[in-house]
C-alpha cells in the first residue's frame, strides 16, 4: 500500500515499459551495454518522475547495478543517451554528475574507514573553497565555510542518529550505521536525485524500518529517489512507481500494487523464486531436509574412503 493518500502525479500514466512521465528528472533512451557476448543492459526507454520514489527491481543478474553504474557515469554504455534535468549527460564523469545533483550510494557501503564520521560528512559538501590547492594552505579562506558545513553535517547526523559517533573512525561503525552514514553523506551534496543501490542489503529489520523512514522523508523534501531493492515488502511499502528489469530489459512498469499482480513480473521475478521459503520456520525445515538428504548421501561415501 502506498503510504500517502494524495493523488499521485502519475495518475493516468499507463502501466507499460518505457512510458513517458509528466515531469521527468531523468530520461534514459536506447541504453545498451554488453560484456562480451552477454547483453547486460538493453533498455529501450526509462523515464523517472521528479519528486517520487522509484524502485528498480529484478531478479539477480537482471542488470540493475550495471544500469545504475551506467546512469551515474561509473561505467560507459555502448550506446544510449541520458538526460538529467533537461541536460544531456551521456559520458559525463561521476564527479560532475554529483555536482549537478545526482548522487549515488553503493551496494557495498563505501565508508571512508580511516576518516572520522564527521570528516566523512564534510567531504560531501559541494564547492568547498579549501579544496583548491593553494587556498588550502590559508585557513582564513575556508574556515567560515567549514563552520557552515559542519553545522549542516551536525544537523544531518542527529537526524540519522549518528551524532554520538561523530568523532569515531567510520571504520568502527556497524554495517547498518555505515548505510546510514552513506545516505547522510550523500545528502551533504544537496542532491536533486539520489540513487540508492540496495540500501537495505545486510541491514537488520529494525534498522530497515528507520532507513525507510529516512527515504520517505527525503521525498517530502522534494528529493527524487531511485533505489534498487530485492525485498518486495520494502518496495510495496515506500515506492510510488516500480520499474522491473529482467535479463537487461525493462519488462514492466507501474505502481507497486499493480506490479505485484503483473504476470510477466511474477514469471520473471517472483516466479523464479516461487519455491523459496516464505517464513523462517519453513526455511529451517527445508534446510533440515537438505541436511538429512546430504547425510544419507555422505554415508556410502565414507565407506568408500
Amino acid at each position: 500500500m502506498p503510504v500517502d493518500a494524495a493523488p499521485s502525479p502519475l495518475a493516468g500514466v499507463p502501466y507499460e515499459p518505457g512510458v513517458d512521465k509528466p515531469d521527468p528528472i531523468l530520461i534514459v533512451e536506447g541504453m545498451r551495454k554488453a560484456f562480451g557476448g552477454l547483453m547486460a543492459v538493453d533498455v529501450h526507454k526509462v523515464s523517472i518522475q521528479r519528486g517520487l520514489i522509484t524502485a528498480l527491481i529484478g531478479p539477480n543478474g537482471a542488470g540493475k547495478t550495471t544500469f545504475f553504474n551506467l546512469l551515474t557515469g561509473f561505467d560507459q554504455p555502448d550506446s544510449g543517451t541520458v538526460v538529467f534535468d533537461g541536460k544531456a549527460v551521456s559520458g559525463v564523469s561521476p564527479y560532475r554528475l554529483a555536482n549537478m545533483g545526482m548522487v549515488r550510494t553503493f551496494q557495498l557501503t563505501k565508508s571512508l574507514t580511516r576518516l572520522s564520521v564527521m570528516e566523512n560528512m564534510k567531504l560531501g559538501a559541494k564547492q568547498q573553497v579549501g579544496e583548491a590547492f593553494l587556498r588550502a594552505f590559508l585557513p582564513l579562506f575556508w574556515r567560515g565555510q567549514e563552520r557552515e558545513i559542519e553545522a549542516r553535517a551536525e544537523d544531518l547526523l542527529s537526524r540519522f542518529r549518528l551524532s554520538h559517533m561523530r568523532d569515531e573512525y567510520a571504520g568502527t561503525l556497524s554495517g547498518g550505521q555505515r548505510k546510514l552514514l552513506e545516505m547522510a553523506r550523500a545528502l551533504m551534496v544537496e542532491p536533486d536525485l539520489v540513487m540508492l543501490d540496495e540500501p537495505m542489503a545486510g541491514v537488520n529489520p529494525a534498522l530497515t524500518q528507520s532507513l525507510l523512514e529516512h527515504v520517505k522523508s527525503l521525498r517530502s523534501q522534494g528529493i527524487t529517489i531511485v533505489f534498487v531493492e530485492h525485498d518486495m515488502d520494502v518496495v510495496r511499502d515506500i515506492s510510488d512507481w516500480v520499474v522491473v528489469m529482467s535479463e537487461g530489459r525493462v519488462i514492466a512498469e507501474g505502481p507497486p500494487e499493480v506490479i505485484g499482480q503483473d504476470p510477466d513480473v511474477i514469471d520473471a521475478y517472483l516466479g523464479a523464486h516461487h519455491d523459496a521459503p516464505l517464513t523462517v520456520a519453513q526455511e529451517e525445515q527445508q534446510l533440515a531436509q537438505i541436511e538429512e538428504a546430504q547425510a544419507e548421501l555422505d554415508e556410502p561415501g565414507t565407506d568408500a574412503l
Binding site: 548522487v103 580511516r114 567531504l123 579544496e131 588550502a136 594552505f137 585557513p139 567549514e146 573512525y169 551534496v189
Partner: protein, 330 residues
C-alpha cells in the same frame, strides 16, 4: 669497542646530510602513499630529477644558480606529470609499476655515453655547487660540538636543510587538515566514494603526485648541493626502498614520521655498522664469518630483520595508531 665513538657517529648521522635528504624525500613519499594512497615505488626518480635539474641547469645550460634550484623542482614536476597523466586513471598498481620503471629508465639514460655532454654520463655532474658555498659561513674544515661532528660544507647544508624540512612539514600538516587534505585522504580510503561525492579524484591524485614529487625534487637538490655532485648510480631502486623503510619505521600517514623515521634509519645503520666493526676488531666476529667489506651488506640485512620485527610487533610504526591499522585490515 669504542661505544662513545659509535654513539657520536650515530647522532651525527641522525642529524647529518643523509638524514636531511631522506627526511625531505620521505615527506614526499608520505604525501603520495601516506595521505593519498598512491603506490610510488620509484620515488628516488623524483630525487634524481631535483639533483639533475639543478646540476644541468648550472653546468649544461649555464643558468643562474638560483634559477637552477627552480629547474630542479620543474624537472620533478614534469616527471610527475609524465608518470601521472597516463597512469592515474588506471588502478593503483599501474602507478607502482610505472614509477619504478621510469626512475630506472631515467638513471640508465642519463648515465649513457651518448648523453654525456648533457648529463655527464656515468661520472655525473660536478662543479656546479660553488656559487651556493660562497654563502657558507662555516669556513673551517671540521666542526665538532657535543656529540656532533661535521665538515664545514656539511654543516652548512644541515643548517639550511633542517629548517627547510620543518617548513615543508608544517606546510603539509596545514594542507592535510584542510578540505584539500580531506579529499586526498578520502581518495586513499575509497576513490569511487570520493568520485560519487563530486570530487575529481584524478585531478587530486595528479596534484598529490606533483606535490610529493616536487618535495622529492627538493630532497635531490639538497643532496646534489650537499655532495657537490650528482652521481647517476646513487639513484638505484634500492634507495626508494630505504625511503619506504624510513617512512614505515616512522609510521605511514603521520606528519612527523618522515623526519623521525629518517633519523632513526641512519642512526641504526651507523650503530649496526659500528658495533659489527667493533666486534670484528675484538675478534668476537671471526674473519671467516664476516670480513670488513661485508659489514656494509650485513647491516642492511639487520635493518631488514628490524623492519620485519617492526611489522610483527608494531606494524603502525612509531607514530601510527594501532586502531587505525586494524580498521584497514577489515
Amino acid at each position: 669497542m669504542n661505544w662513545s665513538s659509535i654513539f657520536q657517529q650515530a647522532i651525527s648521522q641522525a642529524f647529518g646530510l643523509n638524514a636531511v635528504v631522506f627526511a625531505m624525500a620521505t615527506i614526499g613519499l608520505n604525501v603520495h602513499f601516506g595521505y593519498t594512497g598512491l603506490l610510488n615505488f620509484g620515488h628516488i626518480g623524483f630525487v634524481a630529477m631535483g639533483g639533475y635539474g639543478v646540476g644541468m641547469a648550472i653546468t649544461t645550460f649555464g643558468l643562474n644558480p638560483y634559477l637552477g634550484l627552480l629547474v630542479g623542482i620543474v624537472y620533478a614536476l614534469l616527471f610527475a606529470l609524465i608518470l601521472g597523466v597516463p597512469t592515474l586513471r588506471l588502478r593503483g598498481d599501474y602507478l607502482a609499476i610505472v614509477t619504478i620503471a621510469a626512475s630506472e629508465v631515467f638513471r640508465i639514460v642519463v648515465r649513457s655515453t651518448t648523453l654525456a655532454p648533457l648529463t655527464g654520463g656515468n661520472t655525473g655532474i660536478t662543479a656546479f655547487a660553488a656559487p651556493f658555498y660562497d654563502l657558507n659561513p662555516f669556513t673551517e674544515r671540521l666542526y665538532s660540538f657535543g656529540p656532533f661532528f661535521y665538515t664545514g660544507p656539511n654543516l652548512f647544508m644541515i643548517t639550511v636543510g633542517w629548517p627547510l624540512v620543518i617548513l615543508v612539514t608544517v606546510a603539509i600538516w596545514q594542507l592535510m587538515r584542510s578540505p584539500w587534505g580531506r579529499v586526498v585522504k578520502a581518495i586513499r580510503e575509497d576513490e569511487d566514494a570520493a568520485r560519487a561525492l563530486g570530487k575529481n579524484a584524478y585531478w587530486y591524485k595528479l596534484q598529490s603526485l606533483m606535490l610529493g614529487g616536487a618535495i622529492g625534487g627538493l630532497a635531490g637538490i639538497l643532496l646534489a648541493i650537499g655532495n657537490s655532485t650528482v652521481q647517476p648510480d646513487y639513484f638505484v631502486p634500492v634507495q626508494t626502498f630505504f625511503l619506504w623503510a624510513a617512512l614505515i619505521l616512522g609510521g605511514v600517514g603521520r606528519i612527523w614520521s618522515p623526519i623521525v623515521g629518517s633519523m632513526l634509519f641512519w642512526a641504526l645503520l651507523t650503530i649496526t655498522d659500528g658495533v659489527m666493526r667493533g666486534l670484528q676488531s675484538t675478534g668476537a666476529i671471526p674473519s671467516w664469518l664476516m670480513d670488513g667489506p661485508q659489514v656494509g651488506q650485513v647491516r642492511f640485512m639487520l635493518v631488514g630483520l628490524g623492519l620485519a620485527l617492526l611489522m610483527v610487533y608494531r606494524p603502525q610504526g612509531i607514530f601510527g595508531s594501532r586502531q587505525e591499522m586494524m580498521l584497514d585490515a577489515r
